[in-house]
Amino acid sequence: MKVRVQQQNFNIAAEIKELCGNRTDIGAIVTFTGLVRDFHGENKIQKMTLEHFPGMAEKQLGNICQAADKRWPLQGGTVIHRYGSLLPGEQIVLVVILSAHREAAFEAAAFIMDRLKTDAPFWKKEQTSHGAHWVEAKDADIKKSQNWKE
């Protein structure tokens, strides 16, 4: 699978085309696109800034993809995560998964997104009508936080 961490936008159709080429053995393509939303709870989002750990971000995304490849019979995939300043409605992340079977494609794409949220070194800062603040991780479980895999 291919991993890219980039500032510029991406095009879902171009990514699918590059993955599939002239292949005729693919049965299912599942994609996930994550977008900047205009509201977070009560706060209206004006801008979202994504910080990342260069090098490690790519490495972790690669590890997540490898784990997915081990777990499901996949035929290829692409994960793209953007960084920098993004406005509401803009694309943040893209996952494309190819498989002969739809269940594998759905599950692998969902797995990659779940892992990416907790394991890939990206941080969101929201600029809202009430000031700027770092987005808090949703599960601030003490045990879980210190129980990471080495």
Binding site: G34, L50, E51, H52, F53, G55, M56, K59, H81, I92, V93, M113, L116, K117, T118, D119, A120, P121, F122, W123, K124, K125, W134, V135, E136, A137, A140, I142, S145, Q146, N147, W148, K149, E150
Partner: protein
């Protein structure tokens, strides 16, 4: 030893990286955090709540008892919120 800071921790400390020599009494991540806390109020604020500190040594996540060597790159950051 190279130290990297990201997101809230970077902002609290005021810079994104620094080079230090491994202090005598620092043997693992936990004791490195203790050492850094003594460097000033900005570090105290950054490392106040260990529950929301994550650590990567040489770009691999580690626990606070992970041993450290002078050649390590140690990165501190809050829980991740990408995706």
């Amino acid at each position: 030893m190279e130290l990297l800071y990201f997101a809230r921790i970077r902002e609290d400390i005021g810079h994104s990286s620094e080079i230090i020599s491994l202090p005598e009494n620092v043997s693992n991540v936990e004791s490195l955090i203790g050492f850094l806390r003594q460097k000033g109020q900005n570090y105290q604020t950054a490392f106040e709540n260990e529950i929301i500190i994550r650590v990567a040594v040489n770009q691999a996540y580690v626990k606070f008892d992970h041993p450290l060597e002078d050649k390590d790159e140690v990165a501190f950051f809050p829980p991740m919120t990408g995706g």
